[in-house]
Symmetry: C2
Subunit: 195 residues, 2 copies
């Protein structure tokens, strides 16, 4: 998505060869117009999939997921993170390891909001190691729902998650795929539309 | 806001005389159309205030804040919660006590995203004891910005927060004010527009 790539180039800050900070428009401060355009783009790319529910993980996924859900005319659900393992009968839950924060979180969604008829579109702000998507897809499986696709705002193409998930046959659409952050430079993959 | 009140009556679940569960459309599953209408309503009510930034607290405030910011054409910023006190020079931060969870959280916003020229509209999903709004207004003060108003989705009129904040001269607009949850019944205040 050209406007996103331009914004990343303008306002993204390369903190290391693996860390890109985009908190001025994506995950701390939010540019709502850009979020809306991202939502329209995700909705367009998954329009034929018969999506019934958009699912994301708090907190940074919520704004793009809400805009996508608005455009598709379906509800959004955000999984909650908890550090402690709280077993509860009324929750689907899975464990997600964050390499960035080096901590293990329990993520969960109420059984009320996901069921076997659902065609689920997962939305997240970043894809790096793919652990969040794996955890969310585990929850989709517990609900006996169908994982129809995954929409990612920024994919770190130089990390393993995208390849690993695509090899599982998951349909991923990333709005921007970063090839490299070395030498303080942001380089995108030429094709940012992937199947 | 009539459509919100109708939705609360239809889908809200009264768990006790103080607890109303609205996780089917507001703070776990999200109805994006309703969120959009709430955003339009907040934007309309604060249109004359020259708002430059919408500020909220993760996670439940993000969707209504993003929709309000979209409508006003300004950025939204969500404060992050952390349990541990991490002092950092580049953050404004304040402490917020949650009566519901009986825990103290540190909330913070990067200094990059709030400054002295800002006219801030705070948005949150619930107002009960007013602790979250107090914490956020403390951050607004640290930034030397102006608190132009507070938009609340559901105010528990039978708890102290609303009165306490209005006595401080803060302009609060709540889309629905609940008078009582006793006897498993949801009763609204007649007037849901307040100044």
């Amino acid at each position: 998505m050209r406007r996103l790539q331009e914004r990343i180039l303008r306002d993204g800050r390369v903190l290391s060869s693996t860390v890109l900070k985009v908190d001025s428009f994506l995950n701390h401060q939010i540019d709502p117009e850009l979020m809306k355009e991202m939502g329209e783009t995700f909705a367009h790319r998954f329009r034929e999939k018969g999506i019934t529910k958009v699912v994301t993980l708090e907190s940074s996924g919520i704004a793009p997921a809400a805009m996508t859900a608005l455009e598709l005319g379906v509800p959004a659900v955000f999984a909650r993170k908890r550090k402690s393992l709280t077993l509860a009968d009324d929750l689907y839950s899975a464990e997600v390891y964050s390499y960035t924060k080096q901590e293990r979180n329990q993520i969960s969604i109420s059984r009320d909001f996901l069921s076997s008829g659902d065609q689920v579109l997962l939305i997240d702000d970043f894809l790096a190691n793919g652990q969040a998507v794996l955890g969310l897809s585990e929850i989709v499986k517990q609900a006996d729902a169908t994982l129809a696709g995954v929409g990612i705002v920024i994919e770190k193409g130089f990390q393993d998650g995208g390849r690993m998930l695509r090899e599982k046959g998951i349909h991923i659409e990333s709005l921007a795929i970063i090839d490299s952050l070395s030498d303080q430079k942001i380089r995108f993959q030429k094709e940012d539309v992937t199947v």
